[in-house]
Symmetry: C2
C-alpha cells in the first residue's frame, strides 16, 4: 500500500565515474512512499553526510563494502526522523542515524538501514554526522588512539587537516600531548586549524614546498602520519618518519579519482629501514569502540576542547555537486547535505 | 706493538656500487696484526655470513645502521676463535660471533665487535650463522612470531623461500600450524623447500605466472606475507591478501641494486581496503628476544623439525664473488665464506 501524500526523490547511480564524480553519474527519480510493514519504520532524511568513501562506493575497485551497483540508490550515511513506526523499538519523532542514502525517505527494517537512535543531547543535529559519528569523531578517535597509539611529546602529521576527520584528529592529538602539524589545501584551511583548533602548524600543500615545510614544522621528525590524502603527500611525509613511526591509513582521497592505478610511494623501502608500521583501518570494523569514543568526544565537546564546523549544501537535488565539492582543495569542515527541516 | 707472525688480509670498500656489487667495489689490503691491548681480544675469523643487508651497508641510502664508508673494512657478521685475550671474559680458544668484517683477524674490545661467546652445543659451527643467529633463525623467529603473529590455519607466503631466512620462516610457519607457500627463483629451490623442508607449495617466480600460481596455492587467500624480495613479487602478493592480513617486511632484496628508486606497489591502496598491517623490522632492535629464539630453535633442531643448508665459498679473497652470488635467483641455503679452519 502506498502513501499518496509522500513522494520519495532518490538518486540512483547511473554510471561509474572514471575520474571526478559529477551529475552525469546520477539520475534523480521519484516514487511514491509505501506504508511501513510489520517491523518496519518510515524515516524522513534530514541531513546526509558527504564523505570520501562515497566515491569509493561508486567504483568497482576492491573495497571494504560491496560497491553501489548501477541502478541502486546512492549510499550515504545520514540523520533523520522516524515519521511512522511499526517496530517496537522506535516511535514517531525519534531521531536516528543510519545508511539513509541519497533520498527523502526510507521504509525498511531498522537493521537494513544500520539504524541507531540518537540520544537527547544539547548538541546540534549535525554533530551526529561529525564529531559524534563514524564520519568524523569515531574515525579520528579509533584511528589515532587504537591504531596510531600516540605518546605525549610525539609529532603527528595529519593530511586533510581542515576536513571532518583530520580536524578532529589534530585536536585529539593535542589532547594526547603531541605536537600536531596539519597539511591542507588552502591558507584559509591552515588558518582555521592553527588559529581556531590549536594545531601547532599547518602546511598548504598547494603553495608550499611540503618537504621543506615539514622540516621546519617537525624539528624532531614525524612519529605518526595520519594519512587522509595519499599520493605525493604521503610519499613526502614518509621521508620524515622517525624510527618506529606509524603511518595510519584512514583515507587516500588524492587517488580516488585516478583513472589508472598509480604507483605506490617511491619511499616504500623506508618502511623497512625505519621499521615503520603502516596500517589501514576502516571504522566499521571497530563498533565495539563506539560507546567509549562517543562518551569521550561528547565530554571534550562540553569542555570546549573539540570544535568542528559544518558546511551545509541545501537540497537533496544538489547532492552530486556536494560530492564534487569534497574533491576541491579548499574544503573546510564537515560537508553535509540538508534534505529537510 | 705488532705481531710479525700474523698478517691481516682485509677488504675495504673502495667505491659505492650503482647496481650489482662486484670486485671493482672492493680492494684487498694486507697489514700486520698488532698485539691486543688491555681489555682487547685477538679473534681469527672462521666463517663470514653473506647477507642481503651487506649490500645495503655498501650504499649511502637511508638505512638502519651507519653505512660502511669508503676506505673502511667491509662490514659482515662472522664466527671466529679467540687467539689471544686481554679481556677477563674471554680466553684463548673461545668460539665467538660478532661483526668481524671481511678480514682474517680483529684486534678490538669485545664490545666494539658486538662479540658473543658461542655455547658448546653439538651443532656445526655454521649453525651459529644461520638457524642460531640474527642472519637466519632469530630473524625468522622474531619476524614471524612477534611481527606477523600467525594463527593456526592461516596461510603464509614467504619470498626468498630457499634462502637463509625464508627457509626457516617456512619451517616455523609449519610448526605454527599454518599453510606455507614459498616463492623462489629456481625449480631446485622449490623442490628443496617442498620436498626437504615441508612447505605446502612453492612458486618459481621466474617461470610461473605468480598471480595465477598464488591463486592455486592459496585457495583461502594470504594472511601473512613474509617479504624478503619486494618489487613485483610483493605487489602481486598484495593483491591476494585477506582482510586484516599482515605484510612483514624483512627484506627488499629485489630493489637493493636499483640505480634509481623505483615506485612502490601499485596496490598500495589495498593496505586501506583490506586493513593490512605492513610492518618493517630489523632484527637488531629485538635483542631481548634472542635468548628465547635461541632456545626454541635449538630445540627444534634437536627434534629434527628445523633443517638448513650451507653453501660455502672458500677463501676470504672470494668474498666479493660470494656477495654477487646472493643476487643470483638460484640460491639455496645459507651463503657463507670460509676464511680459516
Amino acid at each position: 500500500m502506498s502513501t499518496p501524500s509522500l513522494s520519495n526523490r532518490h538518486y540512483i547511480l547511473k554510471a561509474r565515474p572514471e575520474g571526478p564524480p559529477d551529475r552525469s553519474h546520477f539520475e534523480l527519480r521519484e516514487a511514491p512512499v509505501r506504508e511501513p510493514g510489520d517491523g518496519e519504520v518510515l524515516v524522513r532524511t534530514r541531513y546526509l553526510s558527504v564523505d570520501p568513501t562515497n566515491r569509493i562506493w561508486m567504483s568497482d575497485m576492491k573495497q571494504y563494502m560491496p560497491p553501489v551497483n548501477q541502478g541502486e540508490v546512492m549510499r550515504a550515511l545520514g540523520v533523520g526522523v522516524v515519521e511512522r513506526s511499526r517496530h517496537p523499538d522506535y516511535g514517531a519523532g525519534d531521531l536516528v542515524s543510519g545508511l539513509l542514502g541519497w533520498q527523502d525517505y526510507n521504509v525498511a527494517a531498522p537493521g537494513d538501514l544500520a539504524l541507531t537512535r540518537l540520544p537527547a543531547l544539547d548538541v546540534p543535529l549535525g554533530a551526529f554526522l561529525c564529531p559524534l559519528h563514524v564520519t568524523g569523531g569515531f574515525t579520528a578517535y579509533v584511528g589515532l588512539f587504537d591504531i596510531a597509539q600516540p605518546r605525549p611529546g610525539e609529532t603527528i602529521v595529519v593530511s586533510g587537516a581542515a576536513g571532518s576527520v583530520g580536524s578532529l584528529v589534530g585536536q585529539m592529538g593535542k589532547i594526547a600531548g603531541c605536537r600536531v602539524v596539519g597539511i591542507a589545501g588552502s591558507d584559509a584551511g591552515c588558518r582555521y586549524v592553527t588559529e581556531e583548533l590549536g594545531f601547532d602548524a599547518c602546511i598548504n600543500y598547494r603553495t608550499e614546498d611540503v618537504a621543506a615545510a615539514l622540516d621546519r614544522a617537525c624539528p624532531q621528525g614525524v612519529d605518526i602520519d595520519f594519512e587522509n590524502a595519499g599520493g605525493d603527500i604521503l610519499d613526502t611525509v614518509l621521508d620524515k618518519m622517525n624510527l618506529f613511526g606509524r603511518v595510519t591509513i584512514c583515507g587516500l582521497i588524492s587517488t580516488y579519482n585516478d583513472k589508472q592505478p598509480r604507483p605506490g610511494p617511491v619511499r616504500f623501502p623506508l618502511i623497512l629501514m625505519q621499521r615503520l608500521r603502516v596500517q589501514g583501518f576502516v571504522i566499521t570494523d571497530h563498533q565495539a569502540r563506539f560507546p567509549e569514543a562517543f562518551e569521550k568526544i561528547h565530554g571534550w565537546i562540553k569542555e570546549g576542547r573539540i570544535k568542528w564546523r559544518e558546511r551545509v549544501v541545501e537540497g537533496l537535488e544538489n547532492a552530486p555537486d556536494a560530492l564534487g565539492m569534497l574533491f576541491q582543495p579548499n574544503k573546510i569542515g564537515k560537508l553535509l547535505i540538508k534534505v529537510s527541516e
